[in-house]
């Protein structure tokens, strides 16, 4: 059990994600059940390898691999993989695998390309509240990523039907109702996780720095993201923002998440910076 093993496992994981993406793309064009089944098996294997790789790393280094940008992205990918797996069984929305596998492959490519310099163990990074904070925020962001995926599929299908030119996607995508439903479930799940995750973060901040809130840029943007999603949910429930509007908003929301995750650290600094350097 050492770092090298973890690295090799991570490379295998990436290869599996790419193979799964190939399978899903073949399925998109050919619509043969065999491709979809193979692609799903591959992505399941990839998630399992991913988990093993993280366990091996943790055992070897004595801490969870979430110390730098490469590792954080890897954890994000793992969270998205797990969420996809969960929603796949809940909705049988096979075509969402196309989105998930492309996203996962892209993130894992970045993980492997970014420098993975071992970081000094940081005394601040420990404790129940911290791990709850990280786990919940990552899981929530993953569900919101899938919501934006469902949103993209919705827009593709909706455009064809609205403009009366049902084309390539018409047969390949499920009904608008179902896509909207999946997006909504992903949205509510993600929002709930994100909310609890942020609360856990505040509690942790209070314990470490003695205050809930310190105007850290990432804090500001995270709460901003939360407000965007809260607004979307509010309008959806009260003003009928369903369908197209909701789909566009989930995609915008996800773009803000990406910026919060990457952009804030690169451009604005703050006390979250260490893990995404």
């Amino acid at each position: 059990m050492n770092l090298q093993t973890a690295d090799i496992l991570l490379q295998m994981t990436t290869a599996l994600y790419f193979m799964s993406m190939t399978g899903y793309l073949l399925f998109l064009f050919n619509q043969k059940a065999f491709y979809q089944k193979s692609a799903f098996s591959l992505i399941s294997a990839a998630i399992a390898f991913h988990l093993i790789s993280m366990v091996v790393y943790t055992v070897a280094m004595g801490h969870v691999p979430i110390q730098n940008l490469s590792q954080s992205l890897s954890v994000a990918a793992f969270a998205i993989g797990c969420m996809f797996w969960f929603f796949h069984y809940k909705f049988e929305l096979k075509i969402l695998g196309v989105f998930a596998s492309i996203l996962l492959s892209a993130i894992m490519l970045a993980v492997l390309m970014l420098p993975d310099a071992p970081v000094e163990k940081n005394a601040v990074l420990r404790g129940f509240w911290l791990y709850s904070h990280i786990l919940l925020v990552f899981a929530g962001d993953a569900a919101l990523a899938l919501a934006s995926g469902a949103g993209i599929l919705y827009l593709l299908q909706e455009k064809g039907i609205k403009t009366k030119h049902p084309g390539f996607f018409f047969k390949r995508l499920p009904s608008l109702d179902l896509l909207d439903n999946v997006g909504y479930t992903c949205l509510t799940t993600g929002f709930a996780l994100l909310t609890i995750g942020l609360v856990a973060g505040f509690i942790y901040a209070k314990a470490i720095w003695g205050r809930f809130w310190s105007w850290d840029p990432k804090e500001v943007f995270s709460v901003g993201t939360w407000v965007v999603y809260a607004a979307l949910l509010h309008f959806r429930l009260n003003s009928g923002w369903r369908g197209r509007k909701s789909a566009i908003m989930t995609i915008i929301g996800f773009l803000i998440i990406i910026f919060t995750f990457l952009g804030v650290n690169m451009l604005l600094g703050g006390h979250h910076q260490e893990f995404t350097k």
Binding site: I161, K164, L176, N181, S239, G240, R242, G243
Partner: protein, 425 residues
């Protein structure tokens, strides 16, 4: 050598009145097959008859027996030969096989790709088998036609596209709503067009049907027919709260639903999706409604466009299906050619020789102490055993005649000794 012959008439060659006269009910089919079976000139026979075609597929004992079959149809259906002879097509050998495969794959149907035809052919085959009128050749031919049809259905998109307006509308509804059984339909106008349009939706078991019509009585009649509800025509705007699909076919010259009406209704139904199908000319539903979010309007021209592009798509898939059929015809032809005495005896001999060779090689390579003369003797002995074993079967196969069905024994031989090249599944 047996011949496969197919005589028939379909919607391309005969008008509906004639097709009706030529069609066989299941009972008539049984009686007709019984009759053909007694005829010693006809070895195997099968009849399939739908509203679009009547075809007789048979294997004559000698000659072609075409006139006999035509006379049989005339006699049996009590119709003069001159009345239908010009509408008949007669296919022999490959052409007959090809035609059968085309029919089974639904390439010869009026609506190409429609799924019923295969079931109808299977039923015709079942009747032939039950009456013992089909034999080795037709059995195999029919089974091949089923597998070709299955392959065409599975590997081409021929059955995928909606080529009727009603079907296209249903397909759209299925891509907008996830579960039509939870959705309600409102019919504006109680004409025949409306009835035709909902036909498919109703077979999809929608939750409820609501009818609104200017003449209340007609609305009641139509609602009764579908077990639906009636609302007054003036109530149509408020009825939008409770329905999801609106099918409009009134004779009105102005829009019966305007953008403002639907906008108001949308708010009340919390922006849940509405799907308008406007089959009236001039149009009933304001096309501007399509710009409201979560509202979709398709008029008759939009639906026609979809149907047309689907028909075009189907044409492309047909080319692929044709290729599968050609392949299957060639394969079947090969099997039939093998089903004569000389090639069967030859493959039987070849098989035995190869077994002897393999076994001798295996055994003798371990018996190094034998002299060349011994080896030679053993080889000769094994060859003799092999040829003695198949001597009697070969004599039996050579001794044709005696009014027996040679293809039956040839087929059994080929199966017992596994002489046919295995086919991919």
């Amino acid at each position: 050598m047996s011949k496969i012959i197919l005589i028939g008439a379909n919607y391309k060659t005969a008008p509906v009145e004639l097709r009706e006269k030529l069609s066989f009910t299941s009972e008539e089919m049984v009686a007709a097959l019984e009759h053909l079976k007694k005829d010693t000139d006809i070895k195997e026979s099968l009849i399939f008859s739908t509203c679009n075609r009547t075809e007789i597929l048979y294997i004559p004992e000698t000659g072609e027996q075409i006139d006999k079959i035509i006379a049989f149809i005339a006699h049996y259906k009590k119709i003069a030969v001159s009345e239908f002879k010009n509408s008949l097509y007669i296919y022999k050998e490959e052409e007959a096989i090809h035609h059968l495969f085309k029919v089974a794959s639904s390439l010869d149907s009026m609506v190409v790709g429609e799924p019923q035809i295969l079931g109808q052919i299977k039923e015709a085959y079942r009747i032939a088998v039950a009456n013992n009128s089909s034999g080795v050749l037709l059995n195999r031919l029919m089974h091949k036609s089923f597998s070709v049809a299955k392959r065409v259905r599975k590997e081409t998109g021929i059955g995928d596209n909606a080529v009727s307006i009603s079907y296209a509308a249903t397909e759209l509804a299925n891509k907008i709503f996830s579960d039509l059984s939870q959705k309600s339909v409102m019919l504006l106008g109680a004409g025949e067009m409306a009835e035709l349009a909902v036909e498919h939706l109703i077979s999809n078991n929608v939750k409820q049907i609501v009818v609104a019509n200017r003449t209340f009585k007609n609305a009641v009649d139509l609602a009764d027919k579908f077990g639906g509800q009636v609302v007054k025509f003036e109530e149509r705007e408020s009825a939008l709260n409770d329905v999801d699909i609106i099918i409009s076919s009134t004779g009105a010259t102005e829009y019966v639903l305007t953008r403002d009406q639907v906008k108001r209704a949308m708010k009340k139904r919390n922006h849940n999706t509405l799907f308008f199908i406007d089959i009236a000319v001039p149009r009933d539903i304001d096309p501007k409604i399509n710009s409201i979010s979560n509202a979709y309007v398709y008029d008759i021209d939009d639906l026609k466009n979809i149907v047309e592009s689907n028909i075009e798509q189907r044409g492309k898939e047909t080319v692929k299906a044709q290729r599968f059929i050609e392949e299957a015809v060639v394969k079947f032809r090969k099997w039939m050619d093998g089903l004569s005495v000389v090639p069967t005896i030859k493959s039987l001999n070849d098989k035995m020789t190869s077994i002897v060779d393999i076994e001798c090689k295996k055994t003798l390579s371990n018996l190094k102490h034998l002299s060349p003369a011994d080896v030679e003797a053993i080889k000769r002995m094994t060859q003799a055993i092999a040829s003695r074993t198949i001597h009697d079967p070969i004599l039996f196969l050579r001794n044709t005649g005696d009014h027996r069905d040679d293809s039956l024994y040839l087929n059994v031989t080929r199966q017992l000794f596994n002489l046919d090249i295995p086919e991919e599944k």
